[in-house]
């Protein structure tokens, strides 16, 4: 009898079963409640933005990989997640070309040109957002592009804070019943993040320290500055439920390749990013970009933070 051919492979011959792909899909699933809330708040238009964003992220990735003659990996969930997260940052009324440009910049410049998954120093979502935000200020402005959505009215929380007319309750802010981007239901995002953090799908150290940093900063300077015009209108807590703080803490900052690997680095990274997010929000001319620019800056310093290494056992 002929011997059967046996499989030969290196040790270990077991795997824990948790993979990056599974983690990506868990993250996507966790974002679904917030997505539904976005559709409820902003109507079917937001679904179009999300769908287009996801589709164009995956298509761009496939195209890029085909052009570069690399294996096509759109099934690993990463492109889907990038598309989804980017759409969460866009206004529901964003024009189609804006979405397409944003996602393709994210995929091409943010991910593939650096060598694909794992080699990107910046979170691709941020790269995509920053490019379109700086280039098309008006279309990215939630206040301008949501004027015809009936269920919400007024100004976005950050704009109204600057104008001194903020009068939203914590409840509305948490459920995203405000003028904002598709992923404004910060409470749902917080809950999703807590679940993922408890399951260790995301780097929970980053999320926790991010929130601590953001809270501390908003306690120190956030509302104080704004309430000069309209005293007592916003508490530090409400202040961190506004905008993309929750999305940043749980989904943007802990992005695997662009955040530190070692534990000490993670805490520092998260804390600084959270703190900076508020600082940029308060002082810069891009209040809505505080979280994004802060994380981008910390992405840049993440290799540096990773130089704080654990000492191997038995080494002096």
């Amino acid at each position: 009898m002929k011997d059967p051919m046996l499989t030969v492979s290196p040790a270990p011959h077991w795997h824990i079963g948790k993979t990056f792909t599974k983690d990506s899909y868990y993250t996507i699933m966790a974002l679904i409640p917030a997505l539904i809330m976005g559709v409820i708040n902003y109507g079917k238009g937001s679904l179009g933005v999300v769908g287009l964003s996801v589709f164009s992220a995956m298509a761009t990735e496939a195209l890029m990989q085909a052009v570069m003659r690399r294996p096509i990996t759109i099934h690993d969930g990463n492109a889907l997640l990038i598309g989804l997260l980017l759409s969460f940052l866009l206004p529901a009324g964003a024009p189609w070309w804006l979405v397409v440009v944003g996602t393709s910049v994210a995929m091409i410049v943010g991910k593939q040109l650096y060598g694909g998954l794992g080699s990107n120093p910046f979170n691709p979502v941020l790269v995509g957002w920053i490019i379109i935000r700086i280039s098309w200020k008006l279309e990215m402005d939630v206040d301008a592009s949501l004027v015809d959505v009936a269920s919400v009215s007024g100004l976005s929380p950050l704009a109204s804070l600057r104008a001194g007319v903020f009068e939203l309750g914590l409840r509305d802010v948490m459920l995203g019943r405000i003028v904002g981007s598709v992923g404004s239901a910060s409470l749902l995002i917080l809950l999703a993040g807590v679940v993922l953090g408890a399951l260790k799908v995301i780097k929970w150290e980053v999320s926790v320290s991010f929130l601590v940093g953001a809270f501390l900063a908003s306690l120190l300077l956030g509302p104080k500055l704004f309430t000069e015009l309209n005293p007592g209108s916003i508490s530090p807590i409400t202040f961190i439920f506004v905008g993309h703080i929750m999305l940043g803490a749980f989904f943007l900052a802990p992005d695997n390749p662009s955040s530190p690997v070692n534990t000490v680095g993670r805490y520092l990274y998260g804390f600084l990013a959270g703190f900076m997010a508020i600082v940029i929000r308060v002082y810069s001319s891009y209040p809505d970009g505080g979280v994004i620019f802060a994380i981008m800056l910390l992405n840049l310093s993440s290799p540096l933070l990773d130089r704080i290494r654990p000492k191997a056992v038995g080494k002096a």
Binding site: P4, L6, V8, P10, P12, H13, F20, L117
Partner: protein, 419 residues
Amino acid sequence: MRKLIYNEAELMIELIKTPKRVTLLMEQQPGKVCETGLAVGDKVKRGQKVGEAPDASTPSIHSPIAGEVKETIPALTPEGHHTTAVVIEGGEADSEPTRGDENFLSSSAEELRSRLLEAGVGALGFKGTACFAPPLSVKVEREIETLIISAIDEEPILILNQQIVREHNDELRTGVELVRRVTGAKKVVVATTPALKPKVGEHAVAIEPVYPNALPQMLIWRITGRPVYNSKEANDKGYAVLSAETVVSMVRALRDGIPVMEKVVTVQVEASGPRNLRVPIGTPLFGVLKAVGCTLAQGDRVIMGGPMRGMAQFDPHMPVTKSTDAIVHQRGHGVTRYLDMACIGCGACVKVCPMKIQVDMMTRYCEYSLLDNAKSYDLDACIECGLCAFVCRAKRPLLQFILFAKNEIQRQEEELLEA
């Protein structure tokens, strides 16, 4: 993380039918390669010496069956080294007379060592671990401070040493004294699981039964408080590790005069629990698997050694050696596969590493043979437990990268020495 817990069940050691044909590899344990004095056609008795090291430093090899030498052929060891194999096919049942000695403990250490050498006793079990054993056949150069007898199995699902403690308790207790005598160790302790501690007696130290605590480096670290990275360092510092099975085989060799001809192997076949078998050395893999009712199919994976550090074999005729602790069989569809993927920086490997190495960077350097950088990221501290690859979210073959780099470093050092 889900922890890898050691198996602690009680599992009788079963005998299997003596095979008709055995293949005795001339390299079975760390040390010198043995040579055979036999030629094709020679008659062999059961227990007769088949192979012997040229300089009496490595234990001899004995035939577990009576028969006739069919051929001596070049062969590979399970680890992939080139060696010679002596193939013996069964004939009449004819045994060497055994020369036991009830009062062996009264002999001198010199005398005991030469008898152990004759009987083929050397460190049994996984080769990487066997390197931590003191040489039993020659006088130990460096005095041994602490000698650890490992009565706990190294990898999950393996359960042979614990069962040996249960079934050969008297021998083990005598063995502690014997080992002290032979090696001159100052202190002898028996590392075991909390459950087995009372059974072992006064020398026992309980070890938390979680992988990789029973690897030799970890045992030394847990028991003496001093971490060591490899067997050479352990040797320099005066630490040694021996498996309980080895100790029992020493006693059996001296007291009953039985040379080492069998190895206890935990056999785990896909979709059934593990079994402990006493396998004659030289039995081919498929023979062992057949004894537990498993036939190999296309694409299956057969691992010699545990699931974390064992070697997948391509040849179903590969014989069992003195280093074979386990045979693990996985059906083709359930085989885990590694991916050719970049590290995504999730940090799971860093968290799991018992030696606190920054594994993600270290293995990146290993992958591309940047050996100096790998060394600066603590490649030398790695104890090759494989946990990093076990948890890697990108399914990178991390342990393979590490072993490759270590091998490269060793090769370069050897080249330097030659030049």
